[in-house]
Symmetry: C2
Subunit: 499 residues, 2 copies
């Protein structure tokens, strides 16, 4: 080990410990903590954040990084130093006072957003959102390279190598091909019956089947736990402690597919090797790559007819009165039903990326084109009407539905659509090299999982998503796979005539 | 605020944050964390401990404390500085390397102890225990004042002002009066039927009634949570996040009374004022005072016939087949049944302190009289035979039953008996000033709780337990109240002739 790198270790360990503690507090807050704990616990988390900030921006760290640059590093060390440098760059340029103010603002912001959404009152959140946009632009401007656009700075945080130029093309293709395809599908008048997915599905039965499915797709309960929270999410302390949540309502498919989705995230983190976990490169490569895995498990595996062949009987026997009379074919159609709707997280696979497209266009307008926050509800509603043919009746089902902006996350949304597109490209490649549907039919998901582990999970952050895509498929990112996947799947499912 | 005290704040906040994070990791480890998480998570906790150590022993902190001593402090500041000094004194004299080794040893020790207990193999744990005793003596010797005995140093950590001199007298009185009383009771031949407490008590029903009782005695579920762990415990992040656990088996009284016991601990921590929480004086005054509250709720309140008058019907209707035919009188006798037994945590109220007496005598022999660790199983068994008339058939139900020594806690046990004695003294005083049993009969526990809050909880660590005892009852600690309470209660319950 290089000497300077060795000297960096105690700092890296501290940063890791503070970060891991914050993850645990966040998990605890979402799943268990008592109602009134918020303010006092925030103080603790604030201190841990400040300690993290001060380790990363410690000038000794900066000196050691410089020295590392002069010594011979192995590839893992090299990657760790690179990640550290990026983190330093991100934090160092922000004055500590502004960092604290922003942290405070996002913590309050989330609370105010939640109230505003509950009251369906955009005005309540607008002043905070305005400040959040201002801070975000200011922080991005500190970091922007010569001539770099601010929104590109933000996009780069979540997905390296995917700037507005690439995304304009990506979303442009989606809009051009999927909007008319969707219109055509809706106008075909084909109706899919899915009423049986809603009903008296008992929580304990949903939980039991959720645990069964999580394990079935590869979630290792020796290395993870599953709990309940208002919104499903995945988090991890390290590769041997990965946690997912779900929530239960009377639509059984909501919990089933959220569990499979979060299991996809979890399997990614469980696949990080021991040598990388608890280091700066010991996590999924990017938000987009993470979504590629979760959405791959949810949709390409979980909504695949072949997937249900070995397990539909198990589901039926858990819910005999609700599903006993429903054939597997009817069930698979129902879980793939397309219905242009208002809420992203409940969207079907086809319309999902159009929800993301809308957010991308709006974020660009906010950050780059000076869109006034006050205009947001109208712009939002107009775009939904144009692309999806539906219009929100209030801001709760419109512009206030997502938590992201209240947390100061701008530039995150595109990852959701990119992830889906990455997944479709993987799928196209994998189908050429393995009998994908045959494996699902025989319940051999481990073969698919192992393939993903070898080509993606095991690298952590050693490679960018774009590089992994190229190394696996031999091709650069190509969104056409995604569009072809969707149009073929739904043409068949809806019995449409090929365009 | 004094200037030096103000400058201390960031250090105190950091120490508090690291400590709180450790508490959360510990809670998580006991209640939820996946099986395999241990090693990697320990690394994080180790780093947080080291950071705590380095804040407390920072020489800037030491300088600021000196300056504080020259300035005018208010009583709360004064107490905080005093606690900080004690913590500094405890840590500073230990070389950082030895501190780390000891931390490692206790972490391994707990694992080895658990294995040894499982295998009923004392030899497996003996070498570790020997090292733990050596370290404990060494650390105590670093801190011992001129002429101070090592065991007194340890005792002082858990209960200020209760050294061997006081405890010899305390335990001597117990031995002298309770051992013959117990013998007399056992020989009376009176039998109490309690078979109905064991049976098919469903976990979900035990949980429901546990939650009901916790709330009934004053546990505030807006400020706390209840979960499951192998051994019941209470912990808290601050006064608005206090957590208890219990465990369920087929003896329904185990979970009922562990919930009431832990609620007693929790109510203490919920009663700490906002001004003190998250400071060094924002917790219960001592282990003994904590046990006084938990055992007060468990025994003096919870095993009191008057307590069950308003709620026994609720219990019966939750368990109609098990308790429907059992009268309240029969139930109250059963939960107070005396049976000399081997396991401290399952002991009845009368024999409990004799279990503690044995541990006190043995710890004294280990720390002060050079007792060889190898002799422990025999010494243990002999004392059980002498005081309780029962002899363990193996080390699992003998010397290996408690976790404390494996964690390096020596001097902790006496607190359990002291706490019971404090509680009896409070009770004697309270009965003179309120219609205690009348309040219980009418379900007005809040009056009792409020009294305890005013006289004890609200002070946190501002006063010592001994001072609070004096300020409330006007008397110094007097163990006779405890003995009188026990002998009166059990004379009546067993229909014995007064001695």
């Amino acid at each position: 080990m290089s000497k300077a790198f060795e000297q960096l270790q105690p700092y890296l360990e501290k940063a890791q410990a503070f970060q891991t503690a914050k993850v645990l507090f966040e998990w605890d807050n979402e799943t268990l903590a008592p109602k009134t704990a918020g303010a006092a616990t925030s103080k603790v988390v604030g201190t841990l954040s400040a300690e993290y900030f001060s380790v990363i921006t410690d000038e000794k760290v900066s000196r050691l990084v410089e020295e590392c640059r002069k010594e011979a590093l192995n590839p893992v060390e090299e990657a760790i130093v690179r990640e550290l440098e990026e983190e330093m760059e991100k934090l160092e340029c922000i004055p500590a006072g502004e960092y604290r103010e922003f942290a405070q603002l996002t913590s309050e912001g989330t609370r105010i957003w939640a109230e505003a959404r509950k009251e369906k009152d955009f005005e309540r959140f607008a002043p905070t959102l305005k400040k959040l946009v201002e801070y975000t632009k200011k922080f991005a401007s500190y970091r922007a390279k010569e001539g770099q656009k601010l929104y590109d700075v933000l996009l780069d945080d979540y997905e390296k190598g995917f700037d507005m130029k690439t995304l304009d093309e990506f979303f442009g293709t989606l809009k051009e091909q999927l909007v008319p395809f969707l219109k055509n599908l809706v106008e075909s008048g084909v109706k899919i019956e899915d009423g049986f997915l809603t009903g008296d599905y008992k929580e304990e039965d949903q939980e039991a089947i959720g645990r069964f499915l999580a394990e079935y797709v590869g979630f290792d309960f020796d290395r993870g736990v599953m709990a309940v929270s208002a919104h499903p999410f995945t988090t991890n302390l390290h590769n041997k402690d990965v946690r997912i949540t779900t929530s239960y309502n009377d639509h059984v498919d909501d919990s089933l597919f959220s569990v499979i989705h979060e299991s996809g995230h979890a399997i990614y983190e469980m696949g990080i090797p021991d040598e990388l976990t608890q280091t700066l490169v010991g996590q999924g490569a990017s938000m987009g790559m993470h979504e590629s895995q979760s959405r791959f498990f949810e949709n390409i595996i979980g909504r695949n007819e072949a997937f249900w062949i070995p397990v539909y009987g198990t589901l039926q026997s858990r819910f005999p009165s609700q599903l006993g009379h429903v054939t597997m074919e009817q069930f698979v159609k129902a879980i793939n039903k397309v219905e242009p709707s208002l809420i992203r997280t409940q969207a079907d696979e086809l319309t999902y990326s159009l929800h993301v497209l809308i957010r991308y266009e709006i974020e660009k307008m906010l950050i780059e084109e000076g869109l006034d926050v006050e205009e947001l509800p109208k712009v939002w509603a107009d775009k939904y009407e144009e692309y999806l043919g539906v219009r929100p009746k209030d801001v709760a089902e419109g512009v206030l539905q997502d938590i992201h902006w209240s947390q100061g996350s701008f530039g995150y949304f595109p990852s959701y659509a990119l992830g889906s597109a990455f997944g479709a490209q993987f799928y196209a490649y994998m189908k050429k090299h393995m009998d994908f549907e045959g494996l699902l039919k025989r319940g051999e998901i481990s073969v698919i999982r192992e393939f993903l582990r070898q080509h993606i999970h095991q690298y952590g952050k050693l490679k960018t998503s774009r590089q992994m895509l190229k190394d696996m498929t031999g091709e650069d990112f190509n969104p056409q796979y995604y569009i072809d996947y969707l149009t073929e799947k739904y043409t068949k499912l809806y019995g449409l005539t090929e365009a």
